[in-house]
């Protein structure tokens, strides 16, 4: 009873928050209400995750809302990203409030869409019905489209249109996949109210029509893969990430991509069970993952726009997660850990890139040379963030990448290992070169003075600190949750 109450609270909190924002009288109050609302939602999420830990899974609304270890770990990632981004947002928009470019109307629209994005992504994670899950993901596209062009310019409108069309069409493919999956299950004659429930499908996956289920998975992988930014369907991603305001880029990269990949993860055990555990879907995931890594590596080497660089790095990291999932076994665990690590450090990098961009008036890395002296806090955050992203040693991303390489080696897929290391190596050198020139290069121009409040400093310190700790030691409860989630994807009961 209480569990279902908290699930409902989690789903409805963003809507309540959105309404509260409309009642605010100044842009500053709107932003403050947004921070508070997201913190409240995060609290509800924490309680739900805690309950899941005790009993394995919780459900509400006759099984239509459902939270198990796999969705709980993603809920944790989502709330981390949203909480940090909301805290950061408050500082990021201060200059615009001062010079009047962020009016009350724009602030209200931004907050309403921000809450809308939170609600849609929560719906994706909580719905047990694969049709509603799809509807939630499509809603995230529609809601976030206008977040990209809050700062209206012709480039941001262009990025918004590309994002809208490419992702809508991509996600429509996923709907075709959902329908095909339902057709594959049609022989079971489940009653209408249970026909699309994941838990029911999971129980009967062995009786599905294997050919239809495989066809469904191709559509699903291409469709959700478009939204997850897997190459070669990633073309919208660098544009959208580079044009959106920094907090929006942070939620895009930190969680929205993962939400799409989460939908794919839900189908992996179904396809595997239906096709006799032959690893067919895993090989497809592996292929897309490697293509993404190699493509991203090729583009990163020639990239001078900091936010586009980070966007391509997201393509690479989603590729890494897909490779980990594709390897199966220990790789699944490593992939989920990597999703968490990436979600901690990519927003931090976008935060820093956004603030440095405000100071320099551009995102060109060549202009930002010597940022460490000009901006002690955000310069350090960017340098640290980039180091973590490329997998420098004691940090968490290194650990999860190492686990994936080890999984590849132990399963004997040396081609995968070779390509993985080559792509990661190219990214390492390419990004490190840029990071060093940003940090210690000869200054090209004199930027505006840095403004970093106590919240900003804490945000940077805590993020980097958590990444360092996770690289050395994973707390027991987190380890158990990751392990349970990995077992769900691997299809063990």
């Amino acid at each position: 009873m209480t569990a279902s109450a908290f699930l409902w609270a989690l789903l409805l909190a963003p809507l309540a928050g959105g309404l509260a924002c409309l009642a605010c009288r100044s842009a500053r109050a709107v932003l403050r209400a947004t921070v508070l609302g997201v913190l409240a939602a995060a609290l509800a999420a924490g309680i739900c995750i805690w309950m899941t830990r005790a009993s394995g899974s919780i459900a509400a609304a006759r099984g239509w809302l459902y939270l198990d270890a796999l969705s709980a770990i993603h809920l944790l990632v989502m709330m981390t990203v949203f909480t940090t981004s909301s805290l950061y947002m408050h500082g990021y928009f201060q200059p615009e409030i001062l010079d009047g470019s962020l009016s009350l109307k724009v602030a209200r629209r931004f907050s309403a869409l921000w809450y809308g994005a939170l609600a849609a992504m929560t719906l994706v994670l909580l719905s047990n019905n694969i049709g509603i899950m799809w509807a939630g993901l499509e809603a995230t596209t529609l809601v976030t489209a206008f977040l990209i062009c809050i700062h209206r310019s012709s480039e941001s409108v262009e990025a918004m249109w590309k994002y809208l069309i490419i992702c809508s069409v991509g996600v429509a493919f996923a709907f075709m996949g959902t329908l095909l999956a339902a057709a594959a299950a049609n022989g079971l004659h489940l009653p209408a109210s249970e026909a699309l429930l994941w838990t029911r499908l999971r129980e009967h996956a062995g009786e599905f029509d294997p050919v239809l289920m495989k066809a469904a998975f191709v559509f699903l992988l291409v469709g959700y893969g478009t939204k997850a930014g897997l190459a070669p369907m990633h073309s919208w991603l660098p544009d959208a990430h580079s044009q959106a305001p920094a907090p929006v880029s942070a939620i895009f990269s930190g969680f929205m991509l993962n939400a799409a990949l989460y939908c794919v993860m839900r189908y992996v055990p179904l396809v595997e069970e239906a096709s006799g555990q032959a690893g067919w879907s895993l090989r497809l995931l592996l292929l897309f993952g490697l293509v993404s890594m190699v493509t991203a590596a090729a583009f990163i080497v020639f990239q001078h726009d900091l936010k586009r660089l980070l966007a391509y790095s997201s393509v690479e990291h989603l590729g890494i997660i897909a490779v980990g999932l594709g390897l199966g076994g220990a790789g699944t665990f490593a992939a989920l850990l990597h999703a968490l690590n990436h979600a901690l450090c990519k927003p931090l990098s976008f935060f820093a890139a956004g603030r440095l961009g405000q100071m320099y008036g551009t995102h060109d890395v060549r202009t930002m040379a010597g940022a460490l002296r000009a901006a002690p806090v955000w310069g350090k955050a960017l340098f640290g963030g980039l180091l973590v992203l490329i997998g420098a040693a004691p940090f968490a991303v290194f650990l999860s990448e190492f686990l994936i390489v080890r999984a590849a080696a132990s399963s004997g897929s040396y081609w995968t290992m070779g390509l993985f290391l080559a792509a990661a190596g190219i990214v390492f050198v390419g990004v490190l070169q840029r990071a060093i020139s940003i940090a210690w290069g000869d200054p090209v121009m004199q930027p505006h003075a840095e403004q970093a409040g106590a919240v900003d400093k804490t945000l940077v310190l805590v993020s980097l600190g958590v990444l360092l700790v996770l690289g050395l030691w994973i707390p027991g409860p987190l380890w158990h949750m990751l392990d349970d989630a990995a077992r769900i994807v691997r299809g063990a009961p």
Binding site: G131, L142, I165, A182, N186, A192, S242
Partner: protein, 206 residues
């Protein structure tokens, strides 16, 4: 069934954006009627309401929104395809053949519907995609998206009659929101660029 095929081919052949929008409207109405006809338990209250919603949304509201957007933008009201009308129509026939072939390769779908349904659904998806990639005007891309959606709706409503109502409604709501958001986006594109030719949206690269 036949109406659906013909509207698709007409869409590929028309040169005026207005007639394209009307064609898609006809398709939406046909879709609503179809969803009523395939219902084998006869006319229940819900099935009538659902098909009414589909006709209202896809046959009346969407076209009105798009015609409104068209009026707002002072662009030339022609389709301006990259690929000529004749070639497009031929491509349409090719897509029809391809989808028939594709469906002969898939196992027969369960249920007592005509064997035509699955090929027509795939055909509509292909035509939608073709329109999206081959037209310059942003509104044409919305139309393509709508045709794609319609194709999936055919697939869903005919093959999976046991689709829960809530899911149906959520999907329709999404389609509605999509058209609304895209319509507003076209308005913004028009204001930012003074045109709505997507082939000129090419500043962001690399």
């Amino acid at each position: 069934m036949l109406v659906l095929i013909v509207t698709n081919l007409l869409l590929l052949g028309f040169s005026q954006l207005k007639s394209c929008i009307r064609t898609v409207a006809c398709q939406g109405i046909a879709l609503g009627v179809l969803s009523l006809l395939v219902n084998e338990d006869g006319f229940t209250v819900w099935s009538v309401v659902m098909s009414g919603v589909v006709i209202g949304l896809k046959g009346v509201i969407f076209p009105r929104l798009l015609l409104g957007a068209l009026r707002e933008t002072n662009a030339r009201h022609e389709v301006e395809p990259y690929i000529g009308h004749m070639a497009s129509t031929l491509a349409g026939f090719a897509a029809l053949a391809a989808s028939a072939w594709l469906c002969s390769r898939l196992p027969a779908f369960p249920g007592r519907v005509t064997p035509l349904v699955a090929p027509v659904a795939f055909f509509m998806v292909f035509v939608g995609l073709f329109v999206i990639v081959s037209r310059k005007k942003a509104i044409s891309q919305i139309l393509g998206y709508l045709v794609m959606e319609n194709g999936m709706y055919v697939f869903g409503v005919v093959i999976l009659r046991e689709m829960p109502l809530l899911v149906d409604l959520a999907v329709l709501l999404d389609a509605f929101a999509a058209v609304l958001v895209m319509g507003v986006a076209v308005y913004h594109i028009n204001r930012a660029f003074d045109h709505m030719d997507v082939d000129q949206l090419d500043t962001l690269k690399g």
